[in-house]
């Protein structure tokens, strides 16, 4: 798996994103930019998605994820940059039908005709595609078995989301766009949705999803691009992104009574008392060695280190750092709400 650790990507379209030719990748984006009035919603974004890959655009609300997705889907025009989706330029209106026959979309909002049944709704959309999946198969895949004859207006919110997913799958797409697919799901429904997405990847579907859930990106994606303020601030696999694999481990514990941090046997490792919980936190590049020193010291003094934990920085820590929370960064312009 190719890993890129980009800082701020170049605006020029000749960067790493063009390394894959259109034929080699399902999606290739280079130097993509989009303005809404004076707000620069997307600033020189470049990335590629390989065939059969699950690629996640991870970022806070208003970071530009949906704008990028809508440009790729042909819903929005772009101001600058090159975009190639399955060998088609989504900005080319004359290719719109050909493109939509090969992609599937699950949008953020649920929108379905209220008076048709589940089966009728899916069968209607099946008729729009040249080689659709079997309606019954899709009902099974989306977990709607037993609901076929119910009117859409009588479905629960979660069932409507499943129906929306079924409509995204019915055309048997080569490439599936999922825009925050599990927002509002309960934990079980999320696991089910993840299983469906993994199953689709198993059958060869390329998936490009947006999410603001770190665990979702971690659970599903082969590669993640973190978006903030309309730019990709990091790209890589969930385990290596932002230097996560090389970051220091964090050991934390409650200081035994009667001791201060100065008493700890730490060679050149600064310890700090965390805010709020009063636990001591030690960051170290050698967790095995540091832990041995600490526990040895505690045993020698006949005391214990309460609430002892060792953690690698989570994707969430990396994400918060990269998107400018808890660290220096410019404020995020919120653009999606004003343009949709």
């Amino acid at each position: 798996m190719r890993t890129q650790l980009t800082g701020v990507p170049e605006l020029a379209p000749d960067g790493a994103a063009r390394a894959g030719s259109p034929a080699a990748s399902a999606v290739a984006v280079a130097g993509l930019s989009k303005c809404y009035g004076t707000v620069q919603a997307v600033r020189g974004v470049s990335f590629t998605v390989g065939h059969g890959e699950i690629f996640a655009l991870l970022g806070p609300n208003g970071a530009g994820k949906t704008t990028i997705l809508e440009i790729l889907e042909g819903f929005r025009t772009r101001d600058a940059g090159l975009v190639d989706v399955l060998g088609i330029d989504p900005g080319d209106r004359s290719q719109g039908r050909a493109l939509r026959e090969r992609i599937g979309l699950v949008l953020q909002d649920i929108a379905v005709e209220p008076y048709l049944t589940v089966h009728e709704t899916i069968a209607r959309n099946a008729g729009y595609y040249p080689a659709p999946r079997d309606v019954g198969d899709v009902i099974g895949l989306a977990g709607l078995v037993g609901q076929e004859r119910r009117k859409v207006r009588n479905l629960s919110g979660g069932q409507k989301r499943r129906l929306d997913l079924a409509l995204g799958l019915i055309g048997n797409p080569e490439l599936l766009f999922l825009d925050e697919p599990t927002t509002g799901f309960d934990p079980n429904a999320r696991r089910d949705a993840w299983d469906i997405v993994r199953g689709l990847q198993g059958s060869g579907t390329t998936i490009l999803l947006t999410t603001h859930y770190m665990d979702e990106a971690q659970a599903l994606a082969d590669r993640v691009a973190v978006i903030s303020g309309g730019q990709i601030v990091a790209e890589g696999t969930p385990s290596t992104i932002g230097g996560r694999d090389r970051a220091r481990a964090r050991i934390s514990f409650a200081l035994p009574g009667g001791y201060t941090t100065a008493d700890l046997p730490l060679d050149a490792v600064p310890a700090s008392t965390g805010p709020g919980d009063g636990l001591v936190a030690v960051e170290t590049a050698e967790p095995t060695r540091t832990l041995h020193q600490l526990t040895g010291w505690a045993l020698a003094h006949g005391t214990v280190l309460g609430q002892l934990t060792v953690v690698q920085p989570s994707l969430e820590d990396i994400y918060l750092r990269l998107t400018g929370h808890g660290g220096p960064g410019e404020p995020e312009p919120t653009i999606e709400g004003s343009t949709r």
Partner: protein
């Protein structure tokens, strides 16, 4: 599905038919559209039939009996309902609910979507008009003889009022306002166009003749009740309004819901 093996034109025709079928299904399943659009004019002509049966012709109705006059005007009203009003309200609702945006996410071409709606509206109109003529016959109104003129007038009228319906849907900002705006335009227009009572004011008639409803009434009144054929002048006015509606619809129609 064997659709993929069809040649492209046949596939497009199959697609259009597919779309019409599901528009029909959505329409008949929705109690509001099925009742107010389809049943209301039928009930209206039945009530008029009971009220005016056996009445003689009078100069007030241009020498016709009341029912001979009302069968074509209520038939016209049913077309207004199923094409103009229904379409404007349904499209405004579908846009606001994001259903139109969802349609754009599928390969269904825009022409197939709108032709499907047009064909659906014309079919509902034709069934309504046939029922109204049938009920008229039950109350003693002779069936018309100029069917070609009626058919052409119906299709042209339905198409023109569909175009105007899409145009109004393009100009309405939110779906809640749609029924009110639609009725606000339609009610005075229907009233001065002689749908509910003949208008004997030259001023009103010359104004109404330049608007779309009275020409449609006149173009149906001739072949239905007066043994005349095509009313080309009235059809011309109708077609002009239809073209204007289509122009606005093409330029102003939006698929995406307005931001909240």
């Amino acid at each position: 599905m064997s659709i993929a093996t069809y040649r492209a034109p046949r596939r497009d025709l199959a697609l259009l038919w597919h779309q019409i079928r599901y528009e029909q299904l959505s329409f008949w399943r929705n109690p509001q559209s099925a009742f107010f659009t389809f049943v209301f004019p039928v009930v209206l002509i039945a009530v008029f039939g009971a009220l005016f049966r056996g009445a003689d012709g009078s100069s007030y109705f241009y020498g016709l009996t009341a029912l001979q006059y009302y069968v074509p005007t209520i038939a016209a009203l049913s077309v207004l309902g199923s094409c103009y009003s229904q379409l404007a309200i349904v499209l405004a609702m579908r846009r606001q609910n994001g259903i139109l945006k969802r349609v754009r996410a599928t390969p269904l071409p825009a022409w197939a979507y709108f032709l499907g709606l047009l064909a659906h509206c014309i079919m509902v109109s034709v069934v309504d008009v046939v029922l109204i003529a049938g009920i008229g016959a039950v109350f003693g109104v002779p069936l018309p003889t100029h069917w070609p003129a009626i058919a052409v007038t119906l299709v042209l009228g339905a198409a023109s009022f569909c175009a105007l319906g899409v145009a109004v849907a393009s100009l309405i900002r939110n779906a809640e306002a749609a029924p009110a705006v639609v009725q606000l335009v339609l009610f005075p227009l229907v009233f001065i166009s002689g749908t509910y009572m003949p208008i004997h004011s030259d001023v009103l008639n010359s104004i109404a003749s330049a608007l779309p409803v009275r020409p449609f009434n006149q173009a149906l009144l001739g072949p239905f009740a007066q043994h005349t054929g095509f009313d080309w002048k009235a059809l011309g006015v109708l077609a002009a309004w239809g073209a204007a509606g289509a122009l606005i619809a093409i330029r102003r129609f939006r698929w995406n819901p307005r931001p909240q």
